[in-house]
């Protein structure tokens, strides 16, 4: 007998890979990725890929906006839309448990968003393969990996939202609110706090690790600039504090947030009604 969680996963993956969302995100990511590779290639002759231009920094920021949005929206709809349509009762009446359903949704959402990222950036990777060295391509692939970790984190947050709300509208509204909060407002508030409260790098570090977007941004900076000197005093501090483990800490914090949100979603969903 096959494990029920695998059967659920198979069904959820098929459903996720058929989703219109996936194609939309793939096209968006392809646009971003192509722009990324094109602009990167422009700078090759003069300064090299590593000394990325302001334009590339902008594209990376866009990546930090698009991936969380895709992941949080897709995941926040995954449980509540079945509840709203009434198909959740059918699923729950089968020999499965609620935690298996949440786990299956997490994996299928992360796989489908990752597929969108890989499909979208695949073309760009190929272009880069033709234009840049193997080392630079590895940097590009590291960014791709950072995007997948970020997607995992926001998929967990999305599932938590989905387990808490009663309608798709509420799920969409809340996920947009969380996305705006973590992607845009958080940074402004943090900068204001640093200035007004005179926060030290030591105070700022946990605040950055607590937000997956900020952690992912640091991962990408680290990819381009292993010494973190681009970030000035803070970069020097964080590099000194964590040393070789910095990238792992930054990735680990995002995985921890995604996992914690998923576990809370399992608990909430288990106690919820249909």
């Amino acid at each position: 007998m096959k494990a029920t969680v695998l059967l659920l996963l198979k069904r959820d993956l098929i459903s996720a890979l058929r989703s219109r969302w996936l194609y939309g995100f793939s096209i968006s990511f392809a646009g971003l990725g192509s722009a990324f590779s094109y602009l990167g290639a422009l700078g090759l002759g003069e300064v090299g890929f590593r000394a990325y231009s302001a334009a590339i920094a902008g594209i990376i920021n866009l990546n930090l906006y698009a991936v969380p949005l895709a992941a949080v929206i897709a995941s926040s709809l995954s449980l509540v839309s079945e509840r709203e349509k009434g198909t959740m009762e059918f699923l729950l009446s089968l020999p499965t448990s609620r935690w298996e359903i949440v786990f299956s949704r997490l994996v299928s959402n992360v796989v489908s968003i990752s597929a969108a990222i890989v499909l979208g950036y695949g073309l760009a990777s190929w272009l880069l393969w033709l234009l840049v060295s193997e080392t630079d391509l590895l940097i590009y692939l590291s960014i791709l990996w950072a995007s997948i970790v970020l997607a995992y984190s926001f998929a967990g947050i999305g599932l938590l939202i989905s387990s808490l709300v009663r309608s798709r509208f509420a799920a969409l509204a809340l996920s947009l609110g969380v996305w705006i909060g973590l992607v845009m407002v958080y940074e402004v508030v943090l900068m204001a706090a640093v200035i007004l409260l005179n926060l030290s790098p030591l105070d700022v570090t946990p605040l950055l690790l607590a937000n997956p977007v900020q952690a992912s941004r640091l991962v990408i900076v680290k990819t381009f600039d292993p010494s973190m000197s681009l970030l000035g005093e803070f970069g020097a501090f964080i590099q000194r504090e964590f040393g070789e483990t910095l990238a792992s800490v930054l990735i680990g914090s995002q995985i921890a947030i995604g996992t914690a949100c998923t576990l809370i979603a399992m608990l909430t969903f288990s106690k919820g009604d249909l």
Partner: protein, 274 residues
């Protein structure tokens, strides 16, 4: 061991008490009809028995605590929900395959779908099926894995008289085959003759358990079967609905467009205080 043991079952939806201290026992090979007006708590009771929603109190199914062993319980139970909603993009084939895999049984499409006249729909997406076909599919799926206990919530919803007759015959066959059945209805369906015991719910409380013979002796419900022929509509009055349906079918009457007028359920509910 009992098929179902419900002890002090209470279910609240926020401040509303949907079920209040319900006690119910159903022996192996026994069958019970759960009756009550809309909002009496029938669906909630059946969902609690299957472990689909959280509750206070204790529910044991086939000797297993549904809260701790819900997954095992659902492997042994067939369930027909009141509102039949399946993932619309799945085909009938996908659905049968998915349910049989989840239950860990090998079945053939023929044995599952043929008794309900669904073989022609094998490759149709569930979303394209009519309400009646979906109801038939729900009943067909509930029987996958030869369950020992079958829970049906308003199984006659959307069924034409001919299919009602088929389902009624199947229920009798299941009873003869030693299966336990718990079926909810909100009107004096012809099913009343097939079940020994009737449980009546009112506003979340159990009014009592009655023998159907006693109820029938007092009420003597009369059903009207309206059958369309070339000469217009003909009405047949009967106290034994399914015997009459069988006779009409055997005499070559087309029951696909027939409809059944059921006696007013209020009379029964007044009789039993429900």
């Amino acid at each position: 061991m009992k098929a179902i043991e419900v002890r002090n079952l209470t279910k609240r939806f926020r401040e509303n008490v949907a079920l209040d201290s319900i006690y119910l026992e159903l022996g192996l090979k026994e069958s019970v009809l759960v009756m009550g007006a809309n909002g009496a708590g029938k669906t909630t009771l059946l969902r609690c028995i299957l472990g689909l929603i959280d509750f206070e109190g204790e529910v044991m199914v086939m000797g297993l605590d549904v809260r701790k062993k819900g997954k095992d319980v659902r492997r042994m139970v067939g369930y027909v929900p009141q509102q039949v909603r399946f993932p619309e993009e799945m085909t009938v084939y996908d659905l049968v395959d998915f349910v049989s895999d989840m239950k860990g049984v090998d079945i053939t499409l023929e044995e599952t779908l043929s008794p309900f006249g669904l073989m022609d729909t094998v490759n149709s997406p569930v979303g394209s099926l009519s309400g009646g076909l979906r109801q038939r599919l729900a009943i067909a799926l509930s029987l996958i894995g030869n369950p020992r206990l079958i829970i049906m919530d308003e199984p006659f919803n959307n069924l034409d008289p001919m299919m009602r007759n088929t389902v009624h015959d199947m229920m009798r066959e299941m009873m003869r085959g030693g299966k336990s059945l718990i079926v909810s209805i909100h009107n004096i369906s012809g099913l009343i003759t097939a079940f020994e015991k009737i449980v009546v719910l009112k506003e979340g409380r159990m009014v009592g358990v009655y023998h159907s013979e006693d109820v029938l002796r007092t009420l003597r419900p009369v059903y009207k079967v309206h059958v369309k022929s070339d000469n217009g509509w003909t009405t047949y009055r009967t106290e034994d609905l399914f015997a009459t349906l069988t006779e009409l079918q055997e005499s070559g009457k087309d029951l696909r467009n027939a409809w059944i007028e059921e006696p007013d359920a209020e009379e029964l509910l007044k009789f039993v205080g429900g």
